[in-house]
């Protein structure tokens, strides 16, 4: 095995790469050796639960990974090909030391990867993932003798997973939902569970299609035209689209309007949480409308850095009833700490039944502020330096500055967030304001500022 493994496949929250280029069974064998070694040596554990999404390259990668994990003496409970949620659910049931899911989330079909969670549903933090990376890159594995080799147990949790939902949700009304699985992993769970719960389902791309030939597996607005049409044509109460693995759900209201994650989160918080108190976790990119809408109801809104590992961890520490990631990861810890997107449409259906109002009416109660996202090209070598210089300057100039993840400046009429991308040579600028004029001024002002610092830094570093 002479293939050199690129450091780039190890990203902040997961491992990703192009099959046969950046990742291969050989690479996954080593990742398996490293993950198994990590479980044994660092976590002092002995058991891992794993599953894989429906991607074609998942099978060779999964078995290579198992071959590595078992060589270190770590047992594997193999959930097989499932949605993300079912494998994570199995991890919780088995009290796994580590849960591994083979997926490249919403990326095109030629990609694959792996993400790790703790058995309780908390995502694997970056430092732990980097510890696994270092084991892989330095070939530091600890294999065991023949009598301690890890065993593989096939686990079938499909029925138990379904039973979890049928025992937590009951619908008396006939609720009609357009369900867009995009041919991806949710095809294995969502249609069956929707039907079992008595939801009237209009299925869209609900048969497994590993090439994602109907729509890209990223549920971006531009990929949801078929769903929007179906909601309108079939007079659905709402529609839902999932991403490739099923950790993000995008909701479409009864008029065909696509909701942002913030808006979906606000509806969940406003109408879905029985006890109107506690801390709701949002990341620094979330709209200010979240705070405006939810704090008056008795919740405290706590900002955290971007990344769903922080989301799950903070939610656990704060006993939060809700977590909102602007990228679309939403968690309702009364069900799961991890971001199984299947609970989102079910909770929406529950809210609609209780409120007896169309979803669009609920959406209309929430103001919408204009937002803008900009990507500024900046070399990897200086991007973090540029952002830290900005921090130093802005902290002195403005009253309300949050520096937990990049730098966020909060003003009375809006806010700006500037952070370096973890994965690409860019700096991201996100802004939101009360109206378009203020937004334009804000964006221009901070874009210029960032460009100036990039130019200066380039000069000084030569």
């Amino acid at each position: 095995m002479t293939q050199t493994i690129s450091k780039q496949i190890f990203r902040a929250y997961d491992i990703r790469g192009l099959y046969n280029k950046d990742i291969s069974p050989d690479v996954f064998y080593k990742i398996g050796l490293a993950a198994g070694t990590y479980v044994q040596q660092i976590m002092k554990g002995k058991q891992m639960v794993m599953g894989s999404d429906i991607r074609q390259s998942s099978a060779p990668l999964a078995y290579a990974f198992i071959a590595g994990v078992t060589a270190t003496g770590t047992d594997v409970c193999h959930a097989g090909t499932t949605s993300f949620g079912q494998t994570l659910f199995s991890g919780g049931r088995m009290h796994a030391d580590l849960v591994a899911f083979i997926t490249a989330s919403h990326l095109p079909p030629e990609w694959n990867g792996i993400k790790f969670y703790h058995g309780d549903g908390v995502g694997f933090p970056e430092d732990r993932l980097m510890a696994i990376r270092d084991l892989v890159l330095s070939d530091s594995f600890k294999t065991v003798d023949w009598d301690k080799i890890g065993q593989v147990h096939s686990i079938e949790t499909r029925a138990e997973y379904k039973a979890f939902f049928t025992s937590h949700f009951t619908f008396k009304e006939k609720i009609k939902v357009a369900l867009d699985c995009g041919g991806a992993s949710m095809t294995l769970s969502a249609p069956e569970i929707f039907t079992a719960l008595g939801l009237i389902t209009v299925p869209i791309f609900c048969s497994t299609d590993p090439t994602f030939s109907h729509r890209p597996s990223d549920p971006k607005p531009k990929n949801l035209a078929v769903l929007v049409d179906a909601v309108k044509k079939n007079k659905c109460d709402f529609g839902v689209a999932f991403d490739g693995d099923g950790d993000r759900a995008v909701i479409v209201d009864n008029t065909g309007q696509i909701l942002s994650a913030d808006h979906t989160g606000i509806i969940l918080g406003k109408y879905g949480l029985k006890k109107k108190k506690g801390t709701i976790i949002v990341n620094v990119e979330c709209s200010k409308v979240v705070k405006e809408q939810l704090e008056p109801l008795g919740f405290t809104v706590k900002q955290i850095p971007v990344g769903h590992t922080f989301l799950t961890l903070e939610a656990k520490l704060e006993h939060a009833p809700l977590g909102i990631e602007s990228s679309g990861h939403l968690i309702l810890p009364e069900y799961f700490l991890f971001d199984d997107a299947l609970v989102i449409p079910l909770k929406i259906a529950e809210i609609l039944e209780a409120e007896k109002k169309p979803l669009h009416d609920l959406v209309m109660t929430i103001p919408m502020y204009p937002t803008k996202k900009e990507e500024i090209d900046c070399p990897d070598e200086i991007k973090f330096d540029v952002v830290s210089q900005l921090k130093q300057q802005l902290v002195k100039e403005f009253e309300q500055v949050n520096i937990m993840d990049g730098v966020r400046v909060d003003l009375a009429e809006g806010w700006v967030l500037i952070r370096a991308s973890n994965t690409s040579p860019i700096i991201r600028l996100t802004a939101e304001a009360d109206n378009e004029t203020i937004l334009h001024d804000l964006v221009t002002k901070f874009l210029t500022r960032t460009h100036e610092i990039i130019a200066q830094t380039k000069k000084t570093t030569g």
């Binding site: 291969s24 069974p25 060779p60 078995y63 290579a64 030629e110 009598d147 065993q151 590993p210």
Partner: protein
């Protein structure tokens, strides 16, 4: 070139010389080879009961899938059960993860061709060549193989056996059999098979367990003492012991006496050739003359081959043999499949007993007896060929010899017995086998030829 495959597949100590990396590489190499002739190859994979099975199965599965071969996991099963499945279910290849009778720290990979036989040497060498070149043809993401599971193999195999034998005759006799599977995968087949044949079964070590807690896996006399004691105690018709992957069966008569593999091979060969009024049989050069005696008496003939069951099976296919096998309890029934088969051996012995209505000890007593002495001499690998040639040369002018045979090593046919000197394929030793009518003669010949080989090694 370094060899990976030995006489019976690739073997090694787990996580030392037999690890995931090797298994995955073999999967890739074999998949690459299969893809050269088949567009979309389908492989069946199975394992014995060893602790490292899942690891190695996963590794070889990953390798095969990555080249674009589909893999069907048939679970834990005897080697002949997988071989039968490959043939009957039209798989293009089969893989069995087993180290047969080796100690528990070993494991191995055995390859099966599309006709259910073990891989030929040519195919093994082709796999090795690709493995060492590391030139694998890896499939793109959209063309990798698909994985599936199937749990019907054991059922298919038992049904297959039952369809080839006289089940009514056997059932009538209500045999009592003491069965010692040695915690191998035979446990998943033999108890069920015997019950379907109306037998009462006393089970010893019939739970699959990769630590082999009951006894050592190889069915040699010192490992079958419990079985030998239990048969007369239970008043059973006979006893049977299997190895770890259930391709070999050794029998114990109703008095608890161990029956050497030569004798059971001869017994089955005798009745098959008697019923067919002749026929060609195949066995390696190491088999006792008693086999040829009984076959000749029934107007049959014997073809001798090199040691190794895949070779015996291949020659049987080419020559349309009616029966064949090895002296270690590995019997091959061409009407059923071309591989060693403990399940089929057991069924056949039951059929013979039901037909003859005589105790097993009596039937064995009717087979001629010879005395065999087996020894080994240490010899460096590089001297083996030279020493062999010198032995043959020196013997050419020996008037006592009726014939020199070079099929495998050097076999000298004397008036009152034979001597076989053959280099081991895996260890730096010579094996010396001597057979004669009288024990003293066999011992005398052993001393003489051992000395001869020893002196040739010293001077080589």
């Amino acid at each position: 070139m370094t060899r990976l495959f030995g006489t019976n597949g690739i073997r090694g100590v787990v996580n030392k010389d037999m690890n995931s990396e090797l298994a995955m590489g073999i999967g890739k190499a074999w998949g690459t080879l299969l893809k050269q002739t088949i567009i979309h190859p389908k492989c069946a994979i199975g394992t014995d009961a060893r602790l490292s099975n899942h690891m190695l199965k996963s590794a070889i599965t990953a390798g095969l899938l990555s080249t674009g071969c589909d893999v069907c996991d048939t679970g834990m099963l005897p080697t002949p059960t997988l071989q039968y499945t490959v043939k009957e279910k039209q798989f293009d290849a089969g893989v069995i993860i087993t180290a047969s009778h080796n100690p528990p720290q070993f494991n191995g990979i055995k390859g099966v061709a599309s006709d259910g036989t073990e891989l030929s040497k040519d195919v093994e060498e082709a796999i090795e060549k690709i493995y060492f070149s590391q030139h694998f043809s890896l499939a793109e993401w959209g063309c990798v193989g698909a994985f599936s599971t199937w749990d019907g193999a054991i059922d298919l195999y038992i049904k297959g056996i039952l369809s080839t034998i006289d089940t009514t005759g056997i059932k009538k006799q209500r045999f009592h059999v003491v069965l010692d599977c040695g915690n191998g995968v035979g446990s998943l087949v033999a108890p069920l098979l015997l019950k379907k044949l109306g037998c009462t079964v006393t089970e010893l070590n019939c739970t699959p367990d990769g630590t082999f807690p009951g006894r050592h896996s190889e069915p040699i006399p010192e490992n079958l003492t419990e079985l030998m004691e239990n048969v007369p105690e239970a008043n059973a018709s006979f006893g049977v012991g299997q190895d770890g992957d259930a391709d070999r069966a050794i029998f114990v008569d109703e008095r608890g006496k161990y029956i050497w593999g030569d004798k059971s091979l001869s017994l089955v060969g005798k009745y098959i050739t008697r019923d067919l009024k002749g026929g060609l049989t195949v066995t390696p050069v190491t088999t006792s003359t008693c086999f040829e005696d009984v076959i000749s008496k029934n107007a049959g003939s014997v073809v001798y081959t090199k040691v190794g069951s895949p070779i015996v099976a291949r020659v049987m296919m080419e020559r349309h043999a009616v029966f064949g096998g090895e002296e270690n309890g590995g019997l091959i029934f061409p009407g059923f499949q071309y591989c060693r088969d403990a399940g089929m051996s057991l069924a056949k012995i039951l059929e013979i007993l039901a037909k003859e209505k005589k105790p097993l000890s009596e039937l064995i007593a009717e087979i001629p007896s010879y005395e065999m002495v087996k020894t080994k001499i240490v010899c460096p690998n590089e001297k083996k060929q030279l020493v062999m040639n010198q032995v043959a040369e020196q013997m050419q002018h020996n008037k006592d010899l009726s014939r020199i045979d070079r099929t495998d090593g050097v076999k000298l046919y004397l008036k009152d017995g034979w001597v076989l000197m053959r280099p081991s394929g895996t260890e730096p030793i010579f094996r010396v086998y001597v057979e004669a009518k009288e024990k003293t003669r066999a011992e005398q010949l052993t001393i003489f030829y051992k000395n001869l080989v020893n002196s040739l090694i010293q001077h080589a």
